[in-house]
Amino acid sequence: MATFIGTWIAAGLTLMILSFLYKDNPFFRFAEHLYVGISNAYVVWLVWATIVLPDFIGRVFMNLEPGRPWSPDYWYLVPGILGLVMLTRMIPTIEWMSRWALAFVVGWGAGFVIGPTLNSYLLAQLYASFPWVNMQGYLGSPTGEYVPALINAILLFVCVVTVLIYFFFSYEHKGVIGGAAKIGIWVLMVAFGASFGSTVMARISLFIGRSRFLVQDAEPAGHAFSILLTIGILIVIIAAIIARRRQPPAAEDSEAAE
């Protein structure tokens, strides 16, 4: 019964959120505020139960596993205190104390992250953009595999170089540099197109996920709800077509040209 009620509450909230497609309305705002509130409460509880309690209180102040040998590890007071001083940002007179924690985080981050980041994000990626590196796996392959791989490797190299040239602003984009920069722009446009296509796919996937919940999870037996939803959508389509017919054709063309 609890699952049944929970599922229907979720289905109702999903429809409330989707109602924003019509326009902003109280149902949408109610669902939105509820989502933000519940998410925050859940995250606060989870952080307390899985991080603060076991990793700070459980290491310094009390044994959370009765029956096991335990001794306090006072080193954990250092990050604990640094974490607490972050909260001083809420008190203007002692706000400056929060900079200690930030200084620690920034200093640790810079020192710890620079080496592996350079190796993995820059050097490894740079190395992999050279055609002869890409072709190593294809040595001795049949021509049908070798030739497309070779074209791919050369294309990749040209794309990397031309995009880098496009972002090189210390020299005026004229002549050969200008031509290469133009190719670079085209490469960027193709990349943005690919990203946009993927983004559309991702957004539709999210809608599919919610729709699957409404159609399959919210009513495991029968399709009464889905059929009602479909009828509702058909009514919207018919209303939209009627609204279009009532619109004068001249206005339609001028608006389209805008």
Binding site: L46, I51, L156, T199, S205, I208, T230, A240, R244
Partner: protein, 278 residues
């Protein structure tokens, strides 16, 4: 300028294109596995029973429709081959629950025991720091699992006290930027191979890691999840969703063509009128 009725019409057509295939499923378009998805599948498929893999559930409910089916498919594959699974979440606290649910659901399906065959470690902040620590000692960082149970005597962590040298493969199912730190601080220094699954939005960003060989497989979005389901022979949510996805794509292409046709027709008519007045 987009008029209200146009918006309602487009939304309604998209809604129908999504809902109808879900209500009346059909099987027309096969989800042929790509080389990138097979990279992850083949690596797991070639592992031996008793090997351990790490699955990072680095997503939260906002990416669940794309990545959860992927997670289920990977777990079904691994458990089907008697491979132990360590789950972890370093993306955000809200992802832990999804990992716990997926592991317990698939574990129940395949008769696996929590704590022996699998464990969900849960969320810790500071991704690079946590990865570096668990490369050398998991239990020091995770004294309890996501369900609050002590990890001290947990059989799976007795066998796998650290990632380095113990796990055979790592798959990061990422909604955000977690693949990069896993490559830089986990896979590269830890010496274990890595694959990734991501949302379709991030697929183009992460492809360079696949092309450079830093990850040996990459699954992007719902389509890749459907391909993985095809590979393990268990069609699920992703395969069901791909019918809708394919129809919506066709519809969107039509929208783009019709939109451009209407725009240029109006533009040409306007120019002709301007020439006529001149």
């Amino acid at each position: 300028m987009v008029r209200a009725w146009e918006r309602y019409l487009l939304y309604s057509l998209i809604a129908l294109a999504v809902l109808l295939p879900l209500m009346f499923p059909f099987d027309v378009w096969p989800n042929l596995p790509t080389k990138e998805v097979k990279g992850v599948f083949d690596t797991i498929d070639n592992l031996q029973p008793g090997d351990t893999i790490l699955v990072a559930v680095d997503f939260d409910p906002s990416s669940e429709p794309e990545l959860y089916p992927m997670l289920l498919a990977v777990l079904r594959h691994a458990f089907g081959k008697d491979i132990y699974v360590i789950g972890i979440n370093l993306f955000g606290p809200a992802g832990t629950g999804l990992g716990v649910k997926a592991l317990s659901d698939v574990g129940e399906e395949t008769g696996k025991v929590d704590g022996e065959d699998y464990v969900m470690l849960g969320f810790k902040p500071n991704l690079p720091g946590v990865i570096s620590q668990i490369n050398s000692d998991i239990k020091e960082m995770y004294r309890s699992d996501a369900n609050g149970r002590s990890t001290a005597d947990m059989p799976i962590l007795q066998r796998t006290p650290k990632l380095q040298g113990n796990i055979k493969y790592m798959v990061d199912l990422a909604a955000g930027e977690t693949v990069r730190p896993w490559v830089a601080f986990g896979s590269a220094p830890g010496g274990y191979p890595m694959g990734a699954g991501c949302t379709a939005v991030s697929f183009a960003d992460y492809f360079s890691f696949y092309q450079s060989g830093q990850i040996n497989g990459l699954m992007g979005g719902l389509k890749a999840a459907a391909e993985y389901e095809e590979l393990i022979g268990q069609k699920g949510a992703a395969s069901a969703g791909m019918n809708s996805q394919s129809i919506v794509h066709v519809l969107l292409v039509l929208f783009v063509i019709v939109g451009n046709f209407v725009f240029f027709r109006a533009l040409l008519r306007k120019r002709a009128e301007a020439r006529g007045r001149a």
